[in-house]
């Protein structure tokens, strides 16, 4: 299996003359999980959407294996789990999943209890938690080499969160995963390394003390 590396730098994003992102450097290789932490409104979701290609910004440089890419989703290089629900309504889950999930991972995906239980249902027939779980599963088992998960632990139960962490770890053997969530203990639990987004800049985090230094966590 070939290893791939996603690199993101020189991202500049402004809203109403307010600089949201200005000094960003982020890299992720297949086989690792990178946790992205940051306070509300610091630009975590914007950064993920810029990498994915669904949000335009002043400037960015996103590359995979040194090759510049303008839209991350083209050719299934990058998949992104948005904060909101994204599956089209009125269509059965099995029909939505078939063209979406990587054929090489289909048996793993289709054996999952959540898919087995809900495959003949439509989006409207699922609860918020069930839908979130299925949407996350579909992204993780998609064709992309890199997966961006924006708040995957929100709206799901602690048991489902543990299952998701195991799944992310398993999938990270072949994919690169960037995960962000306000439930930082879940992010810390699943990540190989942590990046903090602070004042528009990315800062590598070594331990909890760094998170306190940058005022992300309170001193105990």
């Amino acid at each position: 299996m070939h290893s791939h590396t996603l690199k993101v730098d020189s991202v500049q994003l402004e809203f109403d003359d307010r600089k949201i992102l200005q000094d960003v450097f982020l890299s992720c290789s297949t086989g690792e999980v990178v946790g992205l932490l940051g306070r509300n409104g610091c630009g975590k979701s914007s950064l993920l959407r810029i990498i994915f290609g669904s949000l335009n910004c002043g400037y960015k440089h996103v590359s995979v294996d040194g090759q510049h890419i303008s839209k991350g989703y083209h050719k299934n290089r990058i998949a992104y789990l948005p904060q909101h629900n994204y599956l089209p309504s009125g269509i059965k889950i099995c029909k939505l999943a078939k063209p979406f999930v990587d054929p090489l991972l289909w048996s793993n995906f289709s054996d999952h209890p959540a898919y087995q239980q809900h495959r003949y249902k439509t989006v409207g027939e699922l609860s918020g938690g069930e839908l979130r779980q299925l949407e996350t599963l579909m992204i993780v088992y998609s064709r992309a080499d890199f997966i961006l998960l924006d708040e995957p632990f929100t709206h799901i139960s602690p048991v489902q969160a543990d299952t998701l962490k195991t799944l992310v770890k398993t999938c990270a053997k072949t994919k690169g995963i960037i995960v962000t969530d306000h439930q930082y203990y879940n992010v810390l639990g699943v990540s190989d390394r942590i990046i903090l987004l602070d004042n528009g800049c990315t800062r590598p985090i070594k331990d909890d003390a760094d998170l306190v230094t940058y005022n992300y966590l309170n001193k105990k």
Binding site: Y73, Y80, Y86, P88, K95, L96, P99, R143, A144
Partner: protein
């Protein structure tokens, strides 16, 4: 190809009936006025496509992420469904107009 076809049908599904109604309106004008109605037909079809974009934008824009994650931008999906719709329109026009003109010709 089968995968893309499935995605196109998923994207086309919510706006199929809206486009069908506009197509039937356009064909009605063709029956009534003949080929001189072509500019009207064009306006009706373009208006139908704008309605379709508006509907998707306001009611199911979040699902764009489904198609992007499948590797296709919203622009690509709109292009595909408008080509598909144009083909359906041509097919419907042929099916409806040929017998109508033939009947009018026989009638004298």
């Amino acid at each position: 190809m089968k995968r893309l076809t499935t995605l196109i049908f998923h994207f086309y599904r919510p706006v199929f009936f809206v486009n069908l109604i506009f197509s039937l309106c356009a064909i009605f004008n063709l029956i009534k006025l003949g080929l001189v109605a072509m500019p009207i037909v064009l306006v009706i079809k373009i208006f139908g496509y704008l309605m379709c974009v508006g509907y998707q934008y306001f009611f199911s824009a979040k699902s764009y992420f489904y198609y992007r994650n499948a590797g296709f931008s919203a622009k690509q999906m709109y292009t595909y469904i408008f080509i598909l719709d144009a083909l359906i329109f041509i097919l419907l026009s042929t099916i409806i107009l040929i017998p109508t003109y033939a009947f009018a010709h026989v009638k004298g």
